[in-house]
Symmetry: C2
Subunit: 346 residues, 2 copies
């Protein structure tokens, strides 16, 4: 299989390298061959080429079986009014690859419950899979700006909603068969289209239970009843906010992975943490989010379920017994944690 | 002073009646005269007149010194595709009154820390004043709908941002002199206008510290470091989501008030809880959110700071010593809690 890596900025290169080591170990162990090709994205790409997503990077990603990304951005490129910005590379890549479904699983490990801001009793049985629409909505709508006015258009078509919602229902079938769709149908027209489309798609899945929630209520329910949710599907911007809120429950962003999927097998995999410029280059970043993203890559793009599960079991073992990086209360560096995962894999 | 009450639907009438009793007691005690005039809004108005905000209600609100609202909505009127919906009355009223700044104070009482989903140590020193822009953004932008497409336009002008942000800075001056402005400037054009306007307004307040946060990060920071924030200002939809998320920290929505202010003295005051149809008419709704909203009314629309503080002290007393309604772990009814507030006021 042909995998493009986009280490990006900040801690991106460190955690991506760790994930690649784990994939190499899996390849050796299960007798696969993974070919890696590294490209630039984000701030480093701007510095090198003037563009956040150079054509060579994009072409390589399109041709690959899967893409593994580290993180983009940093203080050097953080002016939101700059004409060229690192996130533009990420947004352009998501659009070009057509990865409309962003999967963000959230589980709270008992060993880390102390790190969560939530009371421990709230964290029992938290096992949510967020499915965020990733290539539509206000992120990609028309924008205008004059000296004294700005607009963003949020637009959704029925087809855009159908495909991501159908994916959510399919995923729910493999889980606890419960979908919560989040919108703001009491105010937004796009949400009313969203809600009626969801209700129609749900009829194709009579074995899956559907529930609608308003985004403001959901922001509350994720705190008061997080154990109640199975698959949560929502539009791009609501998903951005709710998945970050939910991520706080895990105690650290450092261990949360994501997968962005389109119609084909190809996909984009990245830890949900950012480039963490404050600790970049120090060898202390938590590699587990990137490693778990690599597991999702094996599962969703390469169809290697057993191998994915092996990585997840190894990571669970390290979470339970350590070593832990600083973000989850330990003192270990990236390398020590990686080595522990490799040992657990063996 | 002339106060219009809009009890609305569900528990609205019960909690509004309690707040009016408290205002009557304050009037007697401090020798003021408050004249109350009741009007319809929401579902009950739709049933009576076919409109969620009848002209008579709107005219009365415009002429009043302040408006005290209960809640709108309920299962009977909950179809988001219905042509006439209760929330439309609320949105139309906000727009017509020009109440662009929605103030939502959040404090977490030690006596209720057990009810919060957050660990107790996170709740120390939580004292946030949210200032949500209330008459612009996607709530009021152009909407389109065809059989297979829907759009919502989010629009902001510099003037709209300036006035609400200036209000936030003024309020911060009376508090801990720290403003956090929340946007999504790495993606949205309206957020880039928002951010540059905030930065410019901040220069008028050199004694107040300004911090920018992205909305996704803020959704996380409200959980990991809630004690760090003083005044948080943001646009309409982000404010809707973040204030509900933050409200969950208090343990119950039942005791949170809000004030919506425009240029003049008039204002719209309402508890942040909804119509709670499941408990409507049973005499068990928590009246404290409505009573604290009445205190905000005295402060912001009538300039009666001492009277407002007296109500707040009485409510704090009841929160500390009980009686408590069910939502905050007690068994008392609305009337018992009201009576306790009246006794504490005396
Ligand atoms: C970097 C940014 C554009 C991005 C987003 O908003 O989608 C990030 O927050 C994410 O959630 O992946
Ligand atoms: C009822 C609804 C339209 C309203 C809003 O979204 O503004 C409510 O959620 C609120 O926050 O006051």
């Amino acid at each position: 299989a042909h995998i493009v890596t986009l280490p990006g900025d900040g801690v991106g290169p460190e955690v991506t390298a760790a994930a690649v080591s784990v994939l190499d170990a899996v390849a050796a162990h299960f007798d696969h061959h993974f070919h890696f090709e590294e490209h630039q994205i984000g701030g480093c790409a701007i510095d090198a080429t003037g563009e956040p997503l150079p054509a060579a990077s994009l072409e390589a990603c399109k041709a690959a079986d899967a893409v593994l990304l580290g993180a983009v951005g940093g203080p050097k490129w953080s002016d939101p009014n700059a004409p060229v910005r690192p996130e533009q590379g990420l947004l352009a890549l998501r659009a070009a690859l057509g990865v409309y479904a962003n999967l963000r699983p959230l589980q709270v490990h008992e060993a880390l419950a102390e790190l969560s801001p939530l009371k421990n009793e709230k964290l029992k049985n938290v096992d949510v899979l967020f499915v965020r629409e990733l290539t539509g909505g206000a992120y990609f709508g028309a924008k205008t700006r004059t000296i004294d006015t700005a607009t963003d258009e949020c637009k959704y078509t029925v087809a855009e909603v159908e495909r991501v919602v159908r994916r959510a229902f399919q995923l729910a079938r493999e889980r606890r068969k419960h979908v919560t769709s989040v919108d703001k149908a009491n105010v937004l027209e796009t949400s009313r289209l969203w809600r009626s489309t969801v209700t129609r798609v749900a009829a194709e899945f009579p074995d899956v239970k559907l529930e609608h929630q308003l985004v403001d209520s959901m922001a509350m329910l994720l705190l008061t009843q997080p154990g109640r949710y199975d698959v949560v599907v929502t539009e791009n911007l609501f998903g951005d906010i709710l998945t970050d809120e939910a991520a706080a429950l895990a105690g650290s962003l450092g261990l949360l992975p994501s997968a962005s999927l389109g119609e084909g097998k190809g996909g984009l995999y990245e830890p949900i943490h950012g480039s963490a410029p404050d600790i970049a280059g120090q060898g202390v970043a938590n590699p587990l989010g990137a490693i778990l993203s690599a597991a999702m890559l094996l599962r969703h793009s390469l169809g290697l379920e057993q191998e994915a599960a092996a990585i997840e079991a190894a990571v669970a073992d390290v979470i339970e017994h350590g070593p832990h990086t600083r973000d989850i209360g330990g003192k270990a560096g990236t390398k020590e944690v990686l080595d522990a995962v490799l040992v657990a894999l063996d």
